[in-house]
Amino acid sequence: MLTLAWTYLKIGMIFFGGGYVLIPLLQHLLVEQYKWLTLREFLDGVAISQLTPGPLAMLATFTGVRIGGFAGGLIATICIFLPCILLMLIVGRYYGRLKEIDLISLTMDYILPAVVGLVASAAWSLGTTLGSIREWITLIAAFCIFRWTKINPMIMILGSAMLGMLV
């Protein structure tokens, strides 16, 4: 449990760029390093955490529950959100006076290409779980739909789950 808490706290401290960087981070730590989850289970978790109003980081809750039951989920959720809540409280307090803010936001701008690279690498390794031609076609179709429409991911995920049950 301590390892669990520490792992999520670490991730919570370094996630920036809108939350998607969590996918490569969690995948790397939970699947490859600690082997607490398989790639398939991880993918299922991403789908499930998209079904809530909360941020993508709800993935932490899913993986936490999977690893350590309800207590694990609670610890994972608290630890992953604690750093950014604390940071936001500090910002709320001093925000008129943060002189170095331009430096921080410039750094954040410059780091975004790295986030893109990492998110792409997560898609790459998750892609290794796909076997059949049909799955690849679904992937390409889904990609095109997300790319050219503003559809809510939740609807796509629910829809694909239903299609999955039928075929």
Partner: protein, 189 residues
């Protein structure tokens, strides 16, 4: 550093903050910007708890520091009732999602072996990967400008996907790169 005086709103009760963000956390399906828009409508336009300008500041910081829907809630809560308000707003916002995901995760663990559920989840897998690809491309189009940015994106991709280097190391190196670039940029205008 001097502290910015926290705006005092004696009328806004902690209980009201909790109720509002619980509602946003329950009904705000669509995530991210949908949540921010919903929060803005209620907090700025309807209740006039914070000014539009203040809200925008909170959003700007929220975007730098991780999940901005959560950060915006924390910020608004803090401006209203200090630390207690901020923590309460964040908790209330996350609570419904936390319960939903816990329940779904529990169901997942107990019924994972059911053929129907397996099929449903297998159906979602390629869609999730498609979503991640679309996000990567979308972010790439917006954020990658110029040769140095492309180089960084390609380097991090190869390091993580092909060489399987330690991710903490890759990120650490990227932060160092970005920070130096920011310093240089600031010095030379």
């Amino acid at each position: 550093m001097q502290k910015e005086p926290v705006q005092k709103h004696p009328k806004v009760k902690l209980w009201d903050i909790f109720k509002l963000f619980l509602k946003i956390g329950t009904t705000g399906f669509g995530g991210g910007m949908a949540i921010v828009a919903l929060t803005e409508r209620v907090v700025v336009k309807e209740k006039q708890w914070v000014t539009a300008e203040e809200f925008l500041h909170g959003l700007a910081f929220g975007q730098i520091l991780g999940p901005f829907s959560l950060n915006t809630c924390t910020f608004v809560g803090y401006r209203l009732r200090g630390v207690a308000g901020g923590v309460l707003a964040a908790t209330a916002f996350l609570l419904p999602s936390f319960l939903i995901v816990s329940l779904l995760a529990w169901l997942y663990m107990h019924f994972q072996h059911l053929e129907l559920l397996k099929k449903a989840l297998a159906g979602t897998n390629p869609v999730v990967i498609g979503l991640i690809c679309a996000v990567a491309l979308d972010m790439g189009k917006k954020q990658i400008k110029g040769g140095a940015a492309w180089l960084l994106a390609i380097l991090t991709f190869s390091a993580a996907a092909l060489l399987k280097l330690n991710l903490a190391f890759v990120l650490g190196a990227s932060v160092l790169w970005a920070f130096s670039a920011a310093l240089i940029k600031r010095r030379h205008g």
